[in-house]
C-alpha cells in the first residue's frame, strides 16, 4: 500500500510542478491588481510543499500493512469496465437500451441473479428510463439505432 501512497504523493508533486509551469505563462499582475496567473501559481506552490511533506510521511510509514488491492477490488474494476462499455455503446444503442443492458450485466456479475430476472430488470429499466426521463422530465437523452 505504501508504494501506492508514495506514488500518490509524487503524483501531487508532479501536478504542482505542472500547475506552476502553466501558471507562469499567465500574467501574474494585471492593471488593476492580481492577474489570472496569481492564484494558480500559489496553488501550485502549496501543492508542491504539501506533496513533499506527504511523500516524506508515506515513506516513513513504510511498514503499513494495508494493501492497495483488496479482495473485492477486482469486482470494482469489472463494474468500471461495464460502465465504460455502456458509455461507449450509447451512440449505437441509445441511453435507455444501453442502461438496460448495464443493469442486466451488473445484476448477473455482482448478484449472480438468474438470466430471467436480469432480462426482466433490463427491459423494465429500458422502458422506465424512456418514459421517466424522455417523456416525463423531457431530458433529450441520446437515442441509438433503435430510436430509444
Amino acid at each position: 500500500m505504501w508504494h501506492a501512497r508514495v506514488f500518490g504523493g509524487l503524483a501531487v508533486l508532479a501536478l504542482g510542478i505542472v500547475v506552476i509551469f502553466f501558471s507562469r505563462q499567465l500574467p501574474y499582475h494585471s492593471d488593476y491588481g492580481p492577474g489570472p496567473g496569481f492564484l494558480p501559481t500559489w496553488i501550485g506552490y502549496v501543492l508542491v510543499i504539501c506533496a513533499v511533506v506527504v511523500t516524506a510521511q508515506e515513506l516513513r510509514a513504510a511498514n503499513n500493512k494495508e494493501t492497495f488491492f483488496q479482495p473485492r477490488t477486482r469486482m470494482a474494476v469489472k463494474v468500471l469496465v461495464i460502465i465504460v462499455i455502456t458509455f461507449l455503446l450509447f451512440p449505437v444503442l441509445g441511453f435507455s437500451v444501453g442502461f438496460g443492458l448495464f443493469i442486466c450485466a451488473a445484476m448477473r456479475l455482482m448478484g449472480g441473479h438468474r438470466w430471467v430476472a436480469c432480462s426482466v430488470a433490463a427491459i423494465g429499466t429500458t422502458v422506465s428510463i424512456h418514459f421517466l426521463f424522455d417523456h416525463w422530465l423531457g431530458i433529450p437523452l441520446p437515442k441509438g439505432l433503435v430510436g430509444w
Binding site: L26, G33, P34, V54, A76, F87, F90, I103, L141
Partner: protein, 510 residues
C-alpha cells in the same frame, strides 16, 4: 414581532399541499438514504439536483433540506440494528445503540434517537430563526476583504476538522481551488488550463463533478467494502417496544439538551459538520457521566447525545449557508450549487430578496421534523425492509442517476466521460486517504474566494494590509491562521507530552 410575521408567512408557504408533499418525500427519501450504507445525503441531493430544473426553487430546497435532516435520522436505524452506520454521522450511535439492541432494547434506542432528534431539531430551528437573520445583517457589512478572509477561515477550519492528515486536507482543498480556475478568467477574460478543449472553456460544472465524486465513486468504494452485507438484524421490533420508560426519560433529558447545544454550535462552524458534532457530543457525555464505564455497553445517553447533536447540527448548518453563502459541509455545498443553478445567491441579501424562500424553508423544517418523528416510530419496519434491496440494483440506479445528471447539464456525452473521470479520481483519493469534502467545499467557494481576493487587492491598490486593517476581516484572518497552526500546535504538544513521559519514566528507579 417581525420574526413571527416572517414565520407566519413561512408556514403559509410550507403548509401548501405541494410543499408538504415535497417535504414528506424529502424526509422519507432521506430516511431511506440514511438506512442504505454507501450512499449519503450529498450523493442523493447531487443525483436529484438535475431533475429539479423545472421545479419551483422553494419546493426543491424544502425537499433537499428534508433529505439532509432525514438522513441524520435514518442512519440511526442500521447503526442500532446491524451495527453498520448508514451515515458517518451515526458512527457513534453504533457504540451504545447496537449494545442496546443485543440487550433486547432496540426499540428504546430507536425511540430515544427519534425523540432526541426531534427535540434537538426543533430547538435548533428556533435558534436558527433567531440567529440566521442577525448573522445576515452582520454579513451586510462584508466587503471583498471580509469574504476572502471568511473563505480562508473556512479552508483553515477544514485542516482542523476535514481529515486525519492536515497536509492531505490542504492538497484536497488546493485541488478543488485549482478546478475552479479552469476556463475563462472572469476578470481578464483569459482562458486558463483549457488546453484548447472547447468544452473546458466554461470550466467544470459542479453537478458533473459531484455526480462522479459522490455518486459513482461511492459505488466503487461500496463494492470494495461490502463484506458487511447480509448482517442479521438483532432484537425484535414491536410498536410497544418503541415506548420509553420513565427511567429512560430521566437518564436522557440532559444528554438531549447538551447534545442539542453542542450540535448547534458545531453545525454553525464552517467545515464543522454533523459527524464532528455527534462525535464531540458523545465524548462530552461520556466525560461528564457519573458512570462513564457504562458507555459502550448500552448506555441510553450514548445514543441520545450524538443523535441529538447530529440533528441539531444539520439544522444549524443552514445558518452560515443562508446568511453568508458559506456551506459548512458537503451536503450544504451541494445545496449551494443548487441555489446557484436556480439563479439564487445565498448570502446577506437572501433574507430580504428571497424572504419567502428562506422562511418557507425554515417553517418546513418544523413540518419535516414532525413527519420524521412519526415515521421513526411507526414506519421503522418499512425502512428496515429497504436493506433487502440487492446492491447490484441499487448500484445500477446510482450510476444511472449520476449519468443522467451529468448528461443533462449540457446534453453532452463529454460531461458523462468527465463524470466518470472524476469518479475514478475520487475513488483513488479515498483509497489513498485524501478526503473528498475539502475538495468539494473549495470547489464551491473557489470563485468567491478568488474574486474577493482580487477585488480586495484592486481596492487596496495591491496592498495585502486590507485584510488585517479591517476589524472583521482581521478577526477571520486571525481565526484562519490559528486553524492552520492547530495541526502544528497539536504536533508540538504531542511531542512535548511524549518527552515529558520519557523523562518521568527515566526518573523511576529500577
Amino acid at each position: 414581532m417581525e420574526l413571527f410575521d416572517n414565520l407566519y408567512n413561512g408556514f403559509a408557504i410550507a403548509l401548501t399541499f405541494q410543499n408538504i408533499l415535497y417535504c414528506g418525500f424529502g424526509v422519507f427519501f432521506g430516511q431511506i438514504i440514511g438506512v442504505l450504507p454507501g450512499i449519503g445525503a450529498p450523493t442523493a441531493i447531487a443525483l436529484l439536483l438535475p431533475l429539479t430544473f423545472t421545479i419551483n426553487p422553494t419546493s426543491a430546497i424544502i425537499m433537499f433540506a428534508g433529505i439532509y435532516y432525514g438522513v441524520a435520522y435514518g442512519g440511526t436505524i442500521t447503526s442500532v440494528l446491524i451495527n453498520v452506520p448508514g451515515e458517518s454521522s451515526t458512527v457513534m450511535t453504533c457504540l451504545d445503540g447496537y449494545q442496546m439492541a443485543l440487550q433486547g432494547r432496540a426499540g428504546a434506542a430507536l425511540s430515544v434517537a427519534a425523540i432526541g432528534s426531534w427535540i434537538a431539531g426543533t430547538g435548533s430551528i428556533v435558534l436558527l430563526m433567531a440567529f440566521a437573520p442577525a448573522l445576515a445583517k452582520f454579513g451586510l457589512r462584508f466587503g471583498p476583504a471580509e469574504f476572502f478572509a471568511l473563505t480562508m477561515m473556512a479552508f483553515g477550519l477544514l485542516t482542523v476538522f476535514g481529515g486525519e492528515n492536515p497536509f492531505k486536507v490542504m492538497i484536497s482543498t488546493m485541488f478543488g481551488l485549482l478546478l475552479t480556475t479552469v476556463g475563462f478568467d472572469v476578470v481578464s477574460g483569459m482562458p486558463r488550463f483549457a488546453f484548447g478543449v472547447p468544452q473546458l472553456l466554461g470550466g467544470f460544472d459542479f453537478i458533473v463533478l459531484i455526480c462522479g465524486m459522490f455518486g459513482v465513486a461511492e459505488v466503487f468504494n461500496s463494492i470494495e467494502q461490502s463484506e458487511d452485507e447480509g448482517k442479521a438484524i438483532k432484537g425484535k421490533l414491536r410498536l410497544r417496544d418503541m415506548f420509553l420508560t420513565w427511567e429512560d426519560w430521566v437518564a436522557t433529558r440532559w444528554a438531549i439538551v447538551r447534545g442539542s447545544i453542542i450540535g448547534f454550535l458545531i453545525g454553525m462552524i464552517p467545515a464543522g459538520g454533523i459527524t464532528t458534532a455527534s462525535f464531540i457530543a458523545y465524548l462530552a457525555e461520556k466525560r461528564y457521566a457519573r458512570h462513564p464505564e457504562r458507555f459502550g455497553r448500552g448506555a441510553i445517553e450514548g445514543v441520545a447525545a450524538p443523535e441529538s447533536a447530529n440533528n441539531s447540527a444539520s439544522i444549524s448548518g443552514f445558518a452560515p449557508l443562508l446568511a453568508l453563502g458559506i456551506p459548512g459541509s458537503a451536503t450544504t455545498a451541494v445545496m449551494l450549487a443548487g441555489f446557484m443553478m436556480w439563479g439564487i445567491r445565498p448570502g446577506p441579501l437572501l433574507f430580504t430578496q428571497h424572504a419567502n424562500l428562506v422562511w418557507g424553508l425554515i417553517a418546513s423544517m418544523y413540518v419535516g421534523n414532525f413527519l420524521l418523528l412519526l415515521m421513526n416510530i411507526f414506519l421503522i419496519p418499512i425502512f428496515v425492509a429497504m436493506l433487502r434491496i440487492p446492491y447490484s440494483i441499487m448500484m445500477g440506479l446510482i450510476v444511472l442517476f449520476a449519468t443522467v445528471g451529468a448528461f443533462s447539464v449540457n446534453n453532452s456525452l463529454f460531461d458523462v466521460w468527465m463524470m466518470l473521470g472524476f469518479a475514478l479520481l475520487a475513488y483513488l483519493m479515498i483509497k489513498l486517504k485524501y478526503p473528498i469534502v475539502p475538495l468539494i467545499l473549495a470547489l464551491v467557494l473557489g470563485k468567491l474566494s478568488e474574486n474577493s481576493l482580487r477585488q480586495a487587492l484592486m481596492i487596496s491598490g495591491g496592498s495585502p494590509v486590507i485584510f488585517v486593517s479591517r476589524p472583521i476581516s482581521a478577526l477571520f484572518m486571525g481565526a484562519a491562521l490559528l486553524a492552520y497552526l492547530t495541526p502544528a500546535l497539536r504536533w508540538f504538544l504531542k511531542r512535548w507530552r511524549a518527552a515529558g513521559q520519557e523523562v518521568t519514566v527515566g526518573a523511576v528507579p529500577s
